[in-house]
């Protein structure tokens, strides 16, 4: 069997395996059984007739969307000899670094518990249970006293860890070579250069219409906007996930965004029990391709006994300071809690988890930091050098933007236009490109500052920025 054929067979087998456990599989089975009642289904051509029925009724499309979703999310099956940890992260030194970082977080959480004499989890005493039931409907307005709790870690702690990442097999000497990287990240991951980015983000080019640019008030809507909205409506009526992902690269009309995101993320329309994110054990599935691992604990009194081992929190994710910023923008899109939650969960296990775990993935935070620094060093060398000289390494300013996917820094409508492209390109690289574009935009002011504080001040307020013009100019209109 040729290598390509066996690779394809492997991928198909893996996807079938995954889908067999899904709700969709059960639904398809039920639909197939129910279809036997239909007059057009004949026994002698049963298989073909059912397939035709699936095509006409839209179930085939649902299956296509599910397969497309799997292809987007899960990495391709790796070599049979590769152990599971290789799938999480192929580079050994990165795995080790992630392990050490996790241990630090665990230690920090444990010391907080010990200092405050609070266990990780316990059953609520009866008195408290009664009190909670009484005010169940006003929960949102009554906050417990959190003043003693401090965040487990803040983005700047994480940045220090990334700065100290080293490959033991890499020439880390002081001598300057052709590869001297003047930034903070010192690991040689492969990142795209501008020609490669132009190819990757081709739909953001100057000749293509964009929402965020070509829908501004001065531009007549007949030129682009009307047609784009019409196409969006068509994509939604076809319920085609792949088409939606391609479409949204040019931005989503506000009215269609909620539905388009749900289609791309393959969110089921079935109402689901709304779980608090921390308790949602289905999130544990993403640790197969996340370099991080869920923390473990043991039921009180059963330390070391594997049958009493549990994950903590149940979803395996320990949030950091600012974590809620991943959810906040979504509240503008979805009013129904069930849908809002599903969208957030899917965005987290597809994208956001990469922003706070150490891995070599092209959308991982390490690659994004390196991409940002490389773009700046290569295309704005004077600015980069100047900032470095005054003790204002650019990454120290842009890191917090990227780690939060710009949430809380941009105006909401701009943020949503940015997140449209994250979905459209199934990549977080656009965050690094935008960060570099922001520096390019404010380059003149930045060249005049003489301290880190002054540089921070120039870049403190991003709320007036328009992201699409910035990105377009940086990628397609700057003389390189």
């Amino acid at each position: 069997m040729l290598q390509e054929e066996s690779d394809l067979a492997l991928i198909i087998a893996q996807i079938v395996q995954k889908l067999k456990g899904s709700n969709l599989y059960a639904q398809l089975e039920r639909q197939a059984w129910a279809s036997l009642q239909r007059p057009e289904i004949k026994l002698e051509s049963l298989k073909e007739d059912i397939k035709e029925f699936f095509k006409i009724s839209g179930w085939e499309k649902k299956l296509q969307n599910a397969v497309y979703s799997e292809l987007n999310v899960f990495p391709l099956p790796s070599h049979p000899a590769a152990p599971p940890e290789h799938l999480k992260e192929p580079l050994v030194y990165m795995r080790k670094a992630q392990g050490s970082w996790e241990k630090r977080i665990l230690k920090s959480l444990n010391s907080m518990c010990t200092e405050l004499s609070i266990p990780l989890a316990r059953k609520r005493p009866v008195g408290e249970q009664k009190e909670l039931l009484n005010k169940w409907n006003e929960m949102g307005t009554d906050e417990p006293d959190l003043s003693l709790f401090r965040p487990v870690y803040a983005p700047k702690d994480f940045l220090e860890v990334l700065i100290n990442l080293r490959n033991p097999n890499y020439e880390n000497g002081d001598s300057h070579s052709f590869r001297t990287h003047l930034g903070l990240i010192q690991v040689p991951l492969k990142v795209k250069d501008i020609p490669e980015l132009k190819e990757f983000f081709v739909e953001l080019g100057l000749t293509a219409g964009q929402l965020g640019i070509d829908d501004s008030t001065q531009v007549p809507p007949e030129l682009f906007e009307n047609e784009h909205v019409r196409i969006g409506q068509k994509v939604l009526s076809e319920q085609d996930s792949a088409a939606a992902q391609q479409y949204i690269r040019q931005g989503s009309p506000t009215a269609l965004r909620a539905e388009l995101w749900a289609l791309i993320l393959n969110i089921s329309s079935q109402p689901e029990v709304l779980l608090c994110f921390s308790r949602d054990t289905s999130v544990l599935g993403h640790f197969a391709y996340n370099s991080a691992s869920p923390p473990k604990s043991y039921i009180r009194g059963k330390l070391g006994l594997e049958e009493y081992a549990v994950f903590y929190p149940p979803n395996g994710v320990i949030p950091f300071h600012g974590f809620s910023m991943y959810v906040a923008p979504l509240c503008f899109l979805y009013h129904e809690p069930s849908k809002l939650y599903q969208i957030f969960r899917e965005m987290y296990v597809r994208f956001f988890f990469r922003l706070h775990s150490i891995s070599s993935h092209p959308s991982g935070i390490v690659s994004l930091c390196l991409l940002f620094e490389t773009l700046l060093q290569t295309y704005l060398p004077q600015l980069f050098y100047h900032l470095r000289e005054i003790g204002a390494q650019p990454l120290r300013i842009s890191f917090k933007w990227m780690v939060r996917a710009f949430s809380g820094y941009l105006a909401t409508d701009q943020l949503l236009l940015l997140w449209d492209r994250i979905l459209g390109y199934n990549s977080l690289e656009i965050l690094a490109v935008l960060a570099a574009a922001v520096f390019a935009f404010r380059a003149v002011n930045l060249m005049e500052v003489t301290s880190l504080a002054a540089a921070e001040a120039v870049l403190a307020d991003l709320s007036t920025l328009k992201v699409m013009p910035l990105l377009q100019i940086f990628l397609f209109a700057t003389v390189t």
């Binding site: 790796s78 590769a82 070579s177 590869r179 308790r279 039921i299 903590y312």
Partner: protein
């Protein structure tokens, strides 16, 4: 098709370098690894498997048994196979690789010896090699097309069934470091 591992002896890596290895400044960019099969008759090679460690290009030469009395000659069966698309960056640096019979430039019917020539042109890496080298010959043929055994038991993607609680209890004191 099933495959059977062929026991092999991997000789120590030899660096190809001009001048004295100890005193010269640069690192060798070419390494040679000889692989012999001391207790095995000339066999048909099915697959070569290894874990890469920062090797950028791989060339393989093979010496095969000939029916005539002429001495067996070295023939290149794989030329400059790329393992790292960019020798200066991490991509492909620690990947598991399999090379199959059909990828070879010549017939691999009666293998006596293999010579792996590793190249890493980038001066940025301190060392490079290939690890966990395994050579396979064809196993007993089966009538139906069978997938490798591991496919019917794919690596589980999910964690073992997580306990949200044990006997209704989720009393936890501290996190575990193991």
């Amino acid at each position: 098709m099933s495959r059977v591992s062929v026991p092999c002896h991997v000789k120590g890596t030899v660096a190809l370098q001009v001048g004295d290895v100890r005193t010269s400044q640069g690192r060798p960019g070419v390494l040679v690894i000889d692989v012999t099969f001391p207790s095995v008759a000339p066999f048909e090679l099915q697959e070569i498997m290894f874990k890469n460690y920062y090797t950028a290009f791989l060339t393989i030469r093979v010496r095969q048994h000939t029916s005539t009395h002429t001495p067996a000659k070295w023939v290149t069966c794989l030329r400059d196979y790329c393992l790292m698309p960019d020798p200066h960056s991490e991509e492909g640096a620690q990947e598991y690789v399999s090379l199959f019979k059909h990828q070879m430039l010549c017939d691999m019917g009666k293998v006596l010896e293999l010579r792996l020539i590793l190249r890493q042109p980038s001066p940025l890496w301190l060392s490079f090699t290939v690890e966990e080298l395994q050579i396979y010959q064809q196993g007993p043929k089966s009538p139906s097309m069978t997938f490798p055994k591991w496919l019917s038991h794919p690596v589980p993607c999910e964690q073992p069934a997580p306990l949200l609680e044990v006997d209704g209890c989720y009393d936890l004191n501290l996190l575990s470091y193991t």
